[in-house]
Each structure stands twice: as structure tokens, then as C-alpha cells.
């Protein structure tokens, strides 16, 4: 392929028939990724998309890049091996709430702890889709699903709070139907060094239809969604008349003009020195009366794992010289038999 011809969305589409259910939120995510990838200035062959198991994990088959559909929960580990071996590749991970937070929870936290340079798209539909409708680790308490006919008694994870707890350097959230927002978030994901962990709220119209309606529906979203912008006050509401104000150790929702002005509000800082701020954002959606923040909640610079690992190898080679196999074979002491 001639590198001087700019890539288009079509270059990232495959000839494979997409097998998601009609109306699935995954289509919108696929469309957003396929439209963002050509804009990143990266040759197509440098992309590798790695996935686990589940509806979301069929993603690589529909991306005309290198792709690897692995096994349940293990995409972060496979991707870590690939990124260590080939740090120059753009390695993206497509995963779901069951894949990354249940069976693959261990790999997810350790990927984040190490800050491996992977772009993680967590499609969160709060349900197991491909196994036909069991509750997931993000399902709300009381969720009635196939395996919980009387309602789930499990407490759900907040994926972003979990990621923060594991030491995430980048956490973001977007929604399948917020196309422009999703695309701009994906560009931020693409430019982060280290693990860029992105929760995408996604509708499963078969097994959990409308799970995100309170956020995603056009007529209500403005009152329930807080669009984060670095350096801008935390304002939301259809009339941009509500905000988040600090109150002691806690926060509160205030209405602008009613004893509060924009100057009183918290100003979003992606690099806030206190993790408490990021936790406050990441767990805000679980509090009654508070909006769900979307956008980049936190983005801080830390060395990427693959750079640390490979620079250590280079340092040793630099200090000791390139390994001499003959010398290695002889070991510390030898003797001759004639």
C-alpha cells in the first residue's frame, strides 16, 4: 500500500459479515473506531487489535488490521506479551464487562498496575450477552437475569474506580451513541502512553435493552451526564445551570444562580494531584442525584511498562556488551579432558 495515500474508514473495514445483533451498540463503537484510526497517522499494519471472549471480543474480525481473538479474559495478558515484544505497534484491546472484570479481572488490574502501553476499550453493557443473558459484575443489585431470577445480590464494580485502584494512568468514559464524543475520546486514548482504560457504555438491545437510557436518551442525557473538559468547571444540565461544588470532604450538586456561581464549582483537572478527586469522579454515577461524568477523568504521565522493560535490556547490553553464547555455554568453570 502506498503510504502517501491517506487512509480512510474503508481501509479499516473487513470483508467479514458482522455478526452482532441488529441494533447492538457495538456497531456504533466499531464505526467510531474505524473512523478514528485513519486519522491517527499510523500505517494500517502497525495496528493490532486483541480481544478476549464475548460479543465485544468479535471486534478484531471486523477491523482490517492485525487482529487476535484470544480466550476468555486473557486479552490484556496476550496484549502485554505482544507489546513487550513489539513496542512499536499500536495495540488495542477490545473487551467487555464480563471478560475484563470477571474472568479476566486479575489481568486487568495487573496491566493497569504495570501501565502497559495498551488502549483498552471496555464495552460495558452490564450483562453477559454471548452466553444469553446472565448478570455481569457491573449489573446493578437486584438485576433479574437468567441466572438470577429473583434478582442479583452482588454489588457491582465501578470499572473506572477499580482501574484507579489498580493504578491507572488514564481513565475515560464515553457512550456508544455519543458518536462525536466517543471519537474525540478515542483520539485521546490513542495518544496516551501507558494503559488507556476506556469504559464505553453500550446497549445490549437483546438482553439488557435500555440499561443506559437515563444517560444515553437524547431528551434526558443533558441532565444526567457531566461532560468533562480539562480546565473547565464541572457544569451540566440542559440549561448548563447545574454544577458540582466541593463541600468539605464531599461534593454536592448546586444550581447556578441559586446561591452558587460558576466560580464556586470544581474545575476539572485530569492531572489532579489527589487520587481522591479522580475517585470522586469515577464513583459519582453511583450516587443518587449526581450525573455520570464522561470524557477523560484522569490522564497522568508515567513511564510505560514496555519502555522500562526494554530499556533495562538495553542498559544491560550497554553495560555488559552483547551476550556471547560460547562464553555462556562454558559457564564459570570448565576442565579439559584430553
Amino acid at each position: 500500500m502506498n503510504a502517501s495515500v491517506p487512509l480512510t474508514r474503508k481501509d479499516f473495514q473487513t470483508d467479514q459479515e458482522v455478526r452482532w445483533c441488529p441494533g447492538c451498540g457495538d456497531y456504533a463503537i466499531l464505526a467510531a473506531v474505524q473512523s478514528v484510526f485513519p486519522e491517527l497517522g499510523v500505517p494500517r499494519e502497525k495496528f493490532a487489535v486483541i480481544s478476549g471472549i464475548g460479543c465485544s471480543s468479535r471486534f478484531p474480525y471486523y477491523m482490517n488490521t492485525f487482529g487476535f481473538h484470544t480466550i476468555h479474559g486473557r486479552a490484556p495478558a496476550v496484549a502485554t506479551g505482544l507489546k513487550l515484544a513489539r513496542p512499536e505497534l499500536e495495540v488495542w484491546v477490545a473487551t467487555g464487562d464480563g471478560d475484563s472484570l470477571s474472568i479476566g479481572g486479575n489481568h486487568t488490574i495487573h496491566m493497569l498496575r504495570r501501565n502497559v502501553g495498551l488502549k483498552v476499550l471496555l464495552f460495558n453493557n452490564k450483562i453477559y450477552g454471548l452466553t444469553k443473558g446472565q448478570y455481569s459484575p457491573t449489573s446493578e443489585i437486584g438485576k433479574k437475569a437468567k441466572s438470577t431470577p429473583f434478582g442479583s445480590v452482588d454489588r457491582p464494580f465501578s470499572p473506572l474506580a477499580l482501574a484507579l485502584g489498580a493504578g491507572a494512568t488514564f481513565i475515560a468514559r464515553s457512550v456508544d451513541v455519543f458518536q462525536p464524543h466517543l471519537k474525540s475520546t478515542l483520539k485521546r486514548v490513542a495518544s496516551h502512553k501507558g494503559t488507556a482504560f476506556t469504559e464505553i457504555l453500550q446497549n445490549c438491545n437483546i438482553f439488557n435493552d435500555g440499561a443506559w437510557d437515563a444517560i444515553a436518551e437524547k431528551d434526558v442525557r443533558d441532565d444526567h451526564v457531566l461532560f468533562l473538559e480539562h480546565g473547565k468547571p464541572l457544569v451540566f444540565g440542559k440549561a448548563k445551570d447545574k454544577g458540582i461544588r466541593q463541600n468539605g470532604f464531599d461534593i454536592e450538586v448546586v444550581t447556578l444562580g441559586q446561591g452558587a456561581s460558576e466560580a464556586d464549582l470544581l474545575v476539572h483537572n485530569e492531572q489532579h494531584p489527589s487520587l481522591a478527586y479522580a475517585f470522586m469522579l469515577a464513583s459519582m454515577d453511583s450516587r443518587p442525584g449526581f450525573p455520570t461524568p464522561v470524557g477523560v477523568l484522569r490522564a497522568v504521565d508515567m513511564p510505560a511498562y514496555e519502555d522500562l522493560v526494554n530499556s533495562q535490556v538495553q542498559q544491560v547490553v550497554g553495560a555488559k556488551g552483547k551476550g556471547d553464547l560460547g562464553k555462556l555455554l562454558r559457564g564459570p568453570e570448565t576442565w579439559e579432558i584430553k
Partner: protein, 619 residues
């Protein structure tokens, strides 16, 4: 660096009795430094030019309560003026640091054998810990042996009194006194160990250890009683060459590095610590100057899947573990089979099931290696026969994995892993080269097209322009690799994957039995039983029996002529440290009446056990 080791000092006035070989066992508390002591004696024997075989035997606990039976750690070395293949059935010299060690090891000492005991630790408290009621040094129970009680602690204290070392550290030096004594008994130079002490310890501790070692040597030299216990074991006449002492795990690690150099791909190790495989992780972590990336993963599954990711990216990828870790890796190994990526999986077998006997040896993962995955998931399986062979098997496994685009399992075991032997150092040019090429030409590329000779698919690594493609564990269409659930296609793919692995047989050398080419019995072994079977063969044949020995290095696929060769003997005997897994396989493939000789005690077979069994089978 070649080090010439001098024969016993010229002033050695002792008249030494010449032995063909000798077996020493050091045993004491886990904290008594028995592994270090044994390793030092082994290195010295190796540098002297003896052939040797070692058997370190230690508990899983790092420090079981001092002086108790579960805390006993032992190290046995058989060093010889002729070729040896086993650590020896019984012991000539036993060093017992406490009553517990004496109680658990005395049964293996030959009648008339030398017993050196640390009499400082033969008090009532020690007897209680060892659960014995009378002092064995006084109750006559040791009358069949030549007993040398030595106050090791007192003598060590005396030797180190000027170093200002604290009592606890002095106590930890006393193993060097025992080592110094053994050096005197066999007329060995202390130089190697003195050098080693200087490299390992600093200041007072180094000084104390050196003084203690020399004091032990001088003690025997000056004590009349030992003059009748002085021996020599001449160097062995091994094939000419440069030799070193090498353990199985070190050999395996080095073999993987050598494979990486000879195939031209960087080595990636994904591993999670597990006994007795961790040493390979430790070794490979030191080889960064060879470009090795060693990744200590969060668990066994991440260890293997990260290796699969690295293989996808174009590395020679490996993962190392033991039985319980293998069980966890199996789904991922199935993935590597389905996507047809090269991967070397190393299983250092240990006693099981479950946690089992972490530090003891076993061969019971053969079924797990060959059959242990969901569905039809064949892969090549190899087993090294000796510690040094671990090096060559690592190269062979890597070569097969890359040539056939398949995961390969290496079945080593705890005995090979920790055991050591003199190893002839090959030159780099002697090593096979297998330069590996990636697919780069987009013309006509399909991810699951196959090389007609090997049935291997092309290796098209990410980053190659024009070769963008998708792979996955889901069933795929022949040639295109697209998702496909059609019945006929699945049947075809299952058979193709099986045919590819079966086709590895073209690289498996035909069996050439050792001993008699036909006759009464053929002993079919695999893995670490090599030494015991090899040692048993000559005495059996000397008695006039027609006995052959086939040792299988390739366990899947098996050599082409194996079935035909087994038919040349009246009986087929299969000794294994499991309940007859290879015997089961041979019976099922060849309809041969393979007789299983099974023993699962966490220890290798004795030579005498094999001999007895063969005689029983012939009868």
C-alpha cells in the same frame, strides 16, 4: 576460563585406598546449608575430572522447625572414575548434622560405610525433636558402620574465635567444617570452594567460612582415626573435550538462549514462580545481554498467554512451570494449537495431584501433556533423559515449534532439574542452526494456507504491510482463516491439525536400542529414568540375559519404527515414576503387552530395582 585443578597436595602422606566410585550424602536441617555443601563437593569433583550424578532432596518448607524430621534436607553425589548414570543406590559416606537427619537417612548407608555425625547436636532435646528415645551413638544401633562423632559446632567455634563473628553466624559456618573433612577423606583440593567463598561472602563471614573449611581438612589430617578412611577416586575417562558441571534447569535455560541465537529470534519468557521450575525464570532473567525478555506474570495463565502474545509478535516464546501450573495453562495451550503459533512449554514435573510433593520428582504429567486439553488438541511432546540433555531438548523443542508452527511441551522433572552432571561444552558452531523467516509477501497470502511438506501455516507478524489478517481460537475456514462453523470444514481442520503434529515424525530419529537388539526383554523408558535403566543394563547382560533399552525422547509423535523394534523382544517392560502412563499409551497404539513397572515415591528408581524387576519379568 579453563581451570587446571591439581591432584592432592604432594605432601599428602596418607595412603589412600583407591575406589572406582563413591557416594556421599550430606544431610541436616534445611538451614544447615546441605545443598550448598553438596554443590561445592560436586563442583570440586567435577573439576577434578570425575564423572558424577547428583540427587538433591529437600523439603518444600523453607525452614521447618529446627531439628525435626520434616526439616531434613539432603544432597547426594555419586562421583566416579568411570561413567555413571545415577546418584547411586546406597551411600558410602553419610554426613548427618543431627539425629533427625541420621534417623531418616541411615537406612541408605552401606554396611561398613562411613558415618560422620555432628555430636554437638546429639542431646536429649535433639532426640525429642527427632522422636527417638535413646542416643544412637551409645545404644549400639550404629554398630554396623564406621562412626566418627565430631563436635562440629565446638570445633567451628574454635576455628573462628579470632574473627569476632557472632554465635549464630558461627553456627552457620559449621557445614564448611564437614565439607573440609570430606575434602580430606577424598584427597580433594579446597581451592575451588575457597574461591567460591570469596565470591559469595564478604568480610568476617568469608573469613570464618574459609577458616572453618581449612580446619575441617586439618582436623582429619591430624586425627589418627581418619587415616584408615582416606580414599581416592581417579578422574573418569570421558570423551575428550571441555567440560563443565551443569544442572537440568540451567541446561534448559541455556538451551532456550542458544535456540534464540540459532533461530535469530529474540527469546521471550512468560513465567510464574513455581517449584521446581523457578530456577529457569531466575536464570533467564540474568540473560538480558542476550536480549531475553523475562516477564514474571501475575499468574500461570498470564505467563502462557503473554508468551502467546510474544509469539504472535515474532519472538521465540516460552513459558516454564510445573504440573499445577500446566493445568492452569491448558486452555491457552489449546489456543496456541488453534491459531498455530510456535511456543515452547516447559513442565518440570513434580509429585501430585494438586500441590502434591512440590520438591520431589515424578513423571505423572505425561497424560496431561499429551491429552490434557479440551477437544482434539495434539502437540509434540519431548522429554530430556539427563540434566545435560535438557539443553539439547530445549533446542530441539524450539526447532520443532518454529518449523511446524505449533506449541511443544518439554517434560523435565524435579530430579533432572536439580540434578547435575559433567557436561561436554559444545562449540557454538556445533549447535544446529534453524534460521526462521516470516512471511512478508502479500501476494497470494492467506493466514491458514500451508506448507505442503510440514503443513505449517505462514508466520505473518503484525507490522508487515499488506498482511493484515485475523486469527482466533474460534474455528476457522481452511486456508482463509475466516470464522467458519460448517461441519465438513471443522472435520477437515481437526484432521489437518492432527496430521501436522503426526507429521513431525519425519524429524524423529528411528529408535536404536542400547544393549541387545533383540531378545528377552526390552526396557522402554522416557525422561529421567534413563540413568537407572542404563546402569541396570550392563549387569543384566553380564548375567547372560538378552536385554535392550529404548529411551524415548520424542513422546509425541513416537518414532516410526518403535512398534516394530519392540516386537523383537519377548517382553516389553516400562518403568515409570507414575502408574503406567507410557505403558498405557504403548499398549493402546501398538497392541503390545507392555508391562508397567510403576513406583511413585518422589524419588528416582534405583538401579537395583530395575535389575530385580527385569529378572522377575524374564522368569
Amino acid at each position: 576460563m579453563s581451570t587446571a585443578i591439581a591432584p592432592p597436595p604432594a605432601e599428602d602422606r596418607t595412603r589412600r585406598k583407591r575406589l572406582q566410585n563413591a557416594v556421599i550424602r550430606f544431610c541436616g536441617d534445611s538451614g544447615d546449608g546441605m545443598q550448598v555443601t553438596g554443590s561445592q563437593f560436586t563442583n570440586t569433583a567435577a573439576l577434578f575430572g570425575n564423572d558424577l550424578s547428583t540427587f538433591p532432596d529437600f523439603p518444600a518448607e523453607i525452614r521447618a522447625p529446627q531439628g525435626t524430621l520434616p526439616g531434613v534436607s539432603g544432597f547426594q553425589v555419586n562421583f566416579s572414575s568411570t561413567e555413571v548414570f545415577t546418584p547411586g543406590d546406597s551411600v558410602d559416606v553419610l554426613i548427618a548434622m543431627n539425629p533427625a537427619a541420621l534417623k531418616t537417612n541411615i537406612g541408605d548407608l552401606k554396611t561398613g560405610g562411613i558415618l560422620i555425625v555432628n555430636s554437638d547436636s546429639f542431646t536429649d532435646v535433639d532426640f525429642k525433636k527427632a522422636k527417638i528415645t535413646s542416643n544412637p551413638l551409645e545404644d549400639g544401633s550404629l554398630s554396623g558402620y564406621r562412626v566418627f562423632p565430631v563436635d562440629l559446632l565446638k570445633l567451628t567455634k574454635a576455628a573462628t574465635k579470632d574473627t569476632g563473628l557472632d554465635a549464630k553466624s558461627v553456627d552457620r559456618s559449621k557445614n564448611f567444617f564437614a565439607l573440609g573433612m570430606c575434602y580430606w577423606l577424598f584427597g580433594r583440593s579446597m581451592d575451588g570452594t575457597l574461591r567460591w567463598i570469596d565470591s559469595k561472602f564478604k568480610g568476617q563471614v568469608a573469613e570464618a567460612n574459609k577458616l572453618t573449611l581449612k580446619a575441617g581438612y586439618a582436623y582429619c589430617d591430624a586425627t589418627e582415626a581418619y587415616q584408615t578412611a582416606a580414599y581416592e577416586v581417579a578422574p573418569a575417562k570421558l570423551p575428550a573435550g571441555t567440560y563443565r558441571n551443569l544442572s537440568g534447569n540451567n541446561a534448559l535455560a541455556m538451551g532456550l538462549v542458544a535456540a534464540s541465537e540459532r533461530c535469530g529470534l529474540p527469546l521471550f519468557l512468560g513465567s510464574y514462580p513455581i517449584t521446581p521450575a523457578s530456577d529457569i525464570l531466575h536464570e533467564l532473567s540474568m540473560y538480558k545481554s542476550f536480549g531475553v525478555v523475562s516477564f514474571q506474570a501475575e499468574d500461570e495463565i498470564a505467563a502462557v498467554t503473554s508468551a502467546i502474545g510474544a509469539a504472535y509478535g515474532g519472538c521465540l516464546a516460552t513459558t516454564t512451570t510445573s504440573g499445577p501450573g500446566m493445568a492452569l495453562k491448558m486452555e491457552a495451550i489449546g489456543l496456541a494449537i488453534a491459531v498455530e503459533l510456535p511456543l515452547v512449554v516447559v513442565d518440570i514435573q513434580r509429585g501430585g495431584p494438586s500441590t502434591g510433593l512440590p520438591t520431589k520428582t515424578e513423571q505423572a504429567d505425561l497424560f496431561q501433556a499429551i491429552f490434557g486439553r479440551n477437544s482434539e488438541a495434539p502437540l509434540p511432546v519431548l522429554a530430556p533423559a539427563t540434566p545435560g540433555d535438557c539443553f539439547w531438548v530445549a533446542l530441539e523443542a524450539s526447532r520443532i515449534a518454529l518449523k511446524y508452527m505449533t506449541p511443544v511441551i518439554i517434560l523435565s522433572d524435579g530430579y533432572l532439574a536439580n540434578g547435575a552432571e559433567p557436561w561436554r561444552v559444545p562449540s557454538v558452531d556445533e549447535l544446529p542452526a534453524f534460521p526462521t523467516k516470516f512471511r512478508t509477501d502479500p501476494e497470494g497470502f492467506k493466514p491458514f494456507m500451508r506448507d505442503p511438506a510440514t503443513l505449517a501455516r505462514p508466520w505473518a507478524v503484525p507490522g508487515t504491510p499488506g498482511l493484515e489478517h485475523r486469527i482466533g481460537g474460534i474455528e476457522k475456514q481452511d486456508v482463509t482463516g475466516n470464522i467458519n462453523y460448517e461441519p465438513a470444514n471443522h472435520d477437515k481442520m481437526v484432521r489437518l491439525r492432527a496430521a501436522k503434529v503426526a507429521g513431525v515424525v519425519q524429524d524423529v530419529p528411528d529408535v536404536v536400542p542400547a544393549g541387545d537388539p533383540e531378545g528377552d526383554v526390552v526396557i522402554v523408558g522416557w525422561g529421567s529414568t534413563y540413568g537407572s535403566i542404563t546402569s541396570a543394563l550392563a549387569p543384566l547382560r553380564a548375567k547372560g540375559h538378552k536385554v535392550g533399552h529404548i529411551h524415548l525422547r520424542h513422546l509425541n509423535p513416537l518414532p516410526k519404527n518403535l512398534g516394530e523394534v519392540m516386537k523383537r523382544y519377548k517382553k516389553v517392560l516400562v518403568p515409570e515414576i507414575n502408574l503406567g502412563q507410557l505403558a498405557f499409551i504403548l499398549r493402546s497404539i501398538y497392541l503390545v503387552d507392555a508391562i508397567s513397572y510403576a513406583k511413585v515415591e518422589g524419588k528416582p528408581f534405583k538401579q537395583s530395582e530395575i535389575e530385580t524387576k527385569v529378572l522377575e519379568v524374564i522368569k
